[in-house]
């Protein structure tokens, strides 16, 4: 239930004021000045204007945050799951009470369309908070019993200890919640490091949570991946690193975590195939594909980006997709009419622009293709590319922008081969009315998520797993929160 709705001007005013209050890291229950004198500039991607600064935290800051989390961990782990759940539900209620403030920070910081955040994303975040809040109350384990003669075995599921969460800039708040809430619910304490470009919704979250959770249970360290992220990932007192971001950064996090012999859960890039068979219900398929590719300006690791179409309907799909893309409105994130906001940063705009600038000769730009500098914002329009091959970079590599490539397939085997012909394995979809095709595809497709006749819909109670280079382990759902636990086997001799 939103509190008083803020206008765009009020949102910008609030965000600017809030930014001035974030002067340090949140450690041991309070805002703590960084030991580093460096800071990171944060920009509004809709305008290119400077929003504020956060600390470029040092290794010392990371150490302090980890020490605080470590000190709080045993007491938090001994707090009954029901009490932890109650506390996390109270945090959800506090965020709900600051709904419009959160909308403002997320939209301005990440460039997300305000109507989307208000109607879908923030309600989804609140649902995720409430879902994860009870994670510690329903954990499964193998049943206890006398498996060996004369010995009773029981299985405990315990928190791992201190969790480091490193979150990306595409869903700053949702990703912070997806790491913090399950980790805390099952009894870990957390140090979260938000992406450099999107710190503020996480800042408000930890501030609100700080009123409810014991000191040290949830800490935030701002900064770069290279310094703060690296220090947290390899820290000997950290038990698990949960990272969402690019493959390249993930590899670095994984190496750092390996150095500290700790578990790393990785949700990395994606490059989702979308198979469209000739027997698909085309209008609804095209609606889902357009929405699935343009949501969050395509900065979505499950984005419907590689559209692979049965030859006979190729032209219809290209024309239909173009028609739908043209109904999307690119603009300022705070304009309620906007459905495609800016890209998140100048750097991301440069990356997408560069990829579109190096298309193969065979490729043809059917729609869009160039950035749209507009009042200093990082805008890029919906773009459709045809004629690119499986091995061309524009098809083979993740773009992370509002860009579709459309390829052809000849038969079911060719479709599956093209879909699977990638190192990524996060998500995929199949549009067909044939139940046999749909059922076979769910087994054949080598991706953690397979949608049949839809794309991009998900919820916190459903698992997201990256296969191949798309990651390690699972986020969300029971499988996801069990990543933050360890299994302890108790064997009691019965002297018989």
């Amino acid at each position: 239930m939103p509190n008083t709705i803020l206008t765009a001007d009020e949102q910008r005013k609030y965000a600017a004021e809030f930014a001035t209050t974030v002067t340090g890291n949140f450690i041991d229950g309070q805002w703590t000045p960084s030991s580093s004198s460096e800071s990171i500039e944060v920009f509004d991607p809709s305008t290119g204007g400077l929003l504020g600064h956060v600390p470029d935290s040092s290794i010392k800051d990371a150490d302090a945050a980890v020490a605080s989390a470590r000190a709080a961990q045993r007491a938090w782990a001994k707090t009954p799951p029901s009490a932890r759940s109650q506390a996390l539900l109270a945090v959800a209620a506090a965020v709900e009470a600051n709904f419009e403030q959160m909308v403002a920070l997320e939209c301005i910081d990440a460039g997300k369309p305000v109507s989307v955040v208000r109607d879908e994303e923030l309600p989804g975040v609140l649902d995720a908070m409430r879902y994860f809040a009870s994670a510690g109350r329903t954990m499964t384990a193998q049943a206890g019993g006398d498996y060996l003669d004369g010995i009773t075995s029981t299985m405990r599921r315990e928190p791992l200890g201190v969790v480091v969460g490193i979150t990306p800039w595409n869903y700053p708040l949702l990703q912070a919640v997806a790491k913090i809430f399950p980790a805390l619910a099952v009894g870990n304490t957390v140090v979260i490091k938000p992406a450099e470009t999107t710190p503020y919704s996480t800042a408000l979250l930890v501030q609100l949570a700080g009123e409810i959770l014991p000191p040290g249970v949830l800490n935030v360290v701002f900064g770069t991946g290279a310094v703060a992220g690296d220090a947290l990932s390899r820290h000997p007192e950290v038990d698990v690193v949960s990272f969402t971001g690019s493959i390249d950064t993930g590899r670095k996090v994984g190496i750092a975590a390996a150095d500290g012999v700790k578990k790393a859960v990785m949700e990395l890039g994606g490059n989702s195939p979308v198979l469209v068979f000739a027997d698909a219900d085309l209008p609804s398929a095209l609606d889902a594909i357009a929405a699935g590719g343009l949501y969050n300006t395509g900065q979505e690791c499950m984005s419907a980006t590689r559209v692979i179409v049965e030859e006979s309907i190729f032209d219809d799909v290209v024309a239909g997709l173009k028609e739908r893309c043209e109904t999307y409105v690119v603009g300022d994130a705070l304009d309620p009419q906007t459905t495609v906001g800016p890209l998140n940063s100048a750097a991301q705009l440069a990356r997408v622009t560069a990829k579109l600038g190096s298309l193969p000769d065979t490729a043809e730009v059917v729609l869009g293709g160039e950035g749209e500098p507009n009042g200093g914002g990082y805008f890029f329009p919906p773009t459709i590319i045809v004629g690119a091959d499986q091995d061309d970079e524009i098809v083979a590599e993740e773009i992370f922008g509002p860009v579709f490539t459309v390829q052809k397939f000849t038969d079911e085997a060719d479709a599956l081969a093209k879909a699977n012909g990638t190192r990524y394995g996060l998500a995929s979809s199949v549009f067909t009315s044939n139940v046999g095709v749909a059922t076979r595809a769910q087994n054949e497709l080598n991706f953690g998520t397979v949608w049949i006749n839809n794309h991009l819909v998900f919820g916190p109670d459903l698992p997201v797993s990256g296969f191949g280079y798309s990651g390690i382990g699972t986020e969300n759902a029971e499988a996801g929160f069990l990543e933050f636990t360890r299994v302890k086997h108790i064997m009691v001799d019965n002297r018989i």
Binding site: L89, D127, D146, G436, Q442, A477, R495
Partner: protein, 499 residues
């Protein structure tokens, strides 16, 4: 709720109404015998209407997402928080519970149940989808059953309403609940709070009246797909017979043993026995009823329990200092008194209590904390459920004997073992046939863990994710992936003939 207010004893399709029966439902305050509320019982037609409302609501409710159901239930928990004091007062007034118990146990426990099921129903257990046959993809669905008819007892009216309603509706069923006719008030408040939280009309319905009329109408109703009952074993048996063909969930009586080995912490065991026997005036199906104490500790244990029982304060249930309230009804008071009288006639000895207190408590249905020794193992007072503040203590010699005596009962709901020794503790937890075995404690329950019986104590679990299994069906969906017209297995019919 002072005086005999007229109240509407049913809640059907989202609103309270007066029952259509000529029979009266009268709620008395067991502490005073004074009427609290009076209304008309539900008629057979009312039961029909309630079941029809539940059936009409089922389709849409069963198709809501777990997230949507969860959201309503979280709001419901918040609603209940706001009326927690009223719920506690009503529970105390209708059931005779000391206000301490209502405030600290019944009400917060029930609210926690709501929060628990709001979360638990979002990921139900299932086996993995795979091509087990090679030619098909097999996947599982867990689906709600339909309209649930539930009958709840009078000992924990609010908690029992919660245990019945929550897993059922969290899993997508609709329900018609019949609380005990003498304690309907908090069940009605509970259901009304759900409606305020956004629960669609008809998902939760409450009818009130006697078991023989309203209960029978509900449990035999053809539209009711599952019957869930908590109450006595004899009634459970008749319900099971009447509801044959429907899915059943029965939480019946108990006669919990309390086994004290000679190395136990005597003080802890004595405290545990008195609290475990007297909680809710002993009207608790897991109450400690049969203490078996190893010979070396026996005399000391009996003495300590008698002394502790003497400190238990009976009194006004609204008073924070009251430890033990009355029994729920005069009938129950006579029932308990009868057990004690017959035990004495059979040769048992009353060490403490054993009578109805006089003075200002006389108008209520009080009964003294009672300690009985020297009863025979096969006597009624040891074998049958008393449901009152009566503890029988018996000695044993060898460990084997203590455990055998503990299991010498038709019941199997709960038990406890008291020992400092890990081997004894493990052995007791392994060998006692009951749905719950406590080690060095007796009584605590928790939303995350199941409650339910072995043997004549019934079957099916309340609370915990296991209760969601009770209220769901598992469907196997097997989809051909070969696409061929003649399947391999059809050789059994067609032999080698070509298609």
């Amino acid at each position: 709720m002072a005086g005999a207010a007229i109240f509407e004893a049913q809640f059907i399709n989202g609103s309270r109404s007066q029952g259509g029966s000529d029979e009266t439902v009268e709620v008395l305050n067991p502490a005073t015998g004074e009427p609290v509320a009076r209304g008309n019982a539900s008629s057979e037609q009312d039961v029909d209407d309630a079941v029809a409302a539940a059936n009409a609501a089922f389709g849409e409710w069963s198709r809501t997402t777990p997230a949507e159901r969860s959201q309503i239930m979280h709001r419901w928990a918040v609603e209940l928080e706001t009326i927690a004091d009223d719920l506690a007062a009503a529970e105390t007034e209708q059931a005779g519970k000391p206000i301490k118990l209502s405030t600290e146990f019944d009400v917060p426990g029930s609210i926690d149940n709501v929060a628990f099921f709001a979360g638990a129903a979002r990921h139900l257990e299932g086996k993995a989808t795979a091509e087990y046959s090679g030619d098909h993809t097999s996947s599982l669905r867990r689906e709600p059953i339909g309209v649930i008819g539930s009958i709840a007892p009078w000992n924990y009216p609010l908690q029992m309403a919660a245990w019945k309603i929550l897993p059922a509706v969290a899993a997508g069923n609709s329900i018609v609940l019949k609380p005990a006719e003498i304690t309907p008030l908090t069940s009605l408040m509970f259901a009304e709070a759900a409606t305020r939280a956004g629960m669609p009309d008809g998902v939760i319905n409450v009818v009130t009246g006697a078991g023989r009329s309203v209960g029978v109408a509900l449990t035999t109703h053809p539209t009711v797909s599952m019957v869930s009952f908590t109450g006595s074993t004899p009634v459970g048996r008749s319900i099971a017979a009447a509801a044959a063909g429907k899915r059943l969930h029965l939480e019946l009586g108990g006669k919990a043993p309390f086994v004290v080995f000679d190395d136990a912490d005597l003080e802890a065991a004595a405290n545990g026995a008195v609290a475990g026997a007297l909680i809710n005036t002993g009207q608790d199906c897991t109450a400690a009823t049969r203490a078996y104490v190893q010979r070396p500790l026996y005399n000391q244990f009996v003495g300590a329990v008698a002394d502790l029982m003497a400190t238990v304060r009976l009194g006004d249930t609204r008073d924070q200092s009251t430890d033990q309230g009355p029994l729920v009804s005069q009938r129950q008071q006579q029932h308990v008194a009868g057990f004690v009288t017959r035990a004495v006639e059979d040769g048992a000895k009353v060490v403490r209590g054993g009578s109805i207190p006089g003075g200002p408590l006389e108008r209520g249905y009080y009964y003294e904390p009672t300690l009985i020794v020297d009863a025979a193992q096969d006597s009624e007072v040891v074998q049958d459920e008393i449901f009152g503040p009566v503890l029988v203590v018996l000695p044993f010699d060898a460990d084997d004997e203590g455990l055998a005596l503990a299991n010498d009962t038709p019941f199997g709901l709960a038990a406890s073992a008291w020992s400092r020794d890990v081997y004894r503790a493990q052995r007791a937890s392994r060998e006692i046939a009951a749905g719950c075995v406590w080690i060095n404690d007796h009584i605590p329950i928790i939303s995350e863990m199941p409650h339910g019986g072995y043997k004549q104590s019934g079957y099916g679990k309340d609370m915990s994710a296991y209760s969601l299994d009770e209220y769901t069906n598992v469907k196997h969906v097997m989809t051909d992936i070969t696409g061929v017209a003649r399947k391999r297995w059809q050789r059994t019919i067609f032999g080698d003939r070509d298609a």
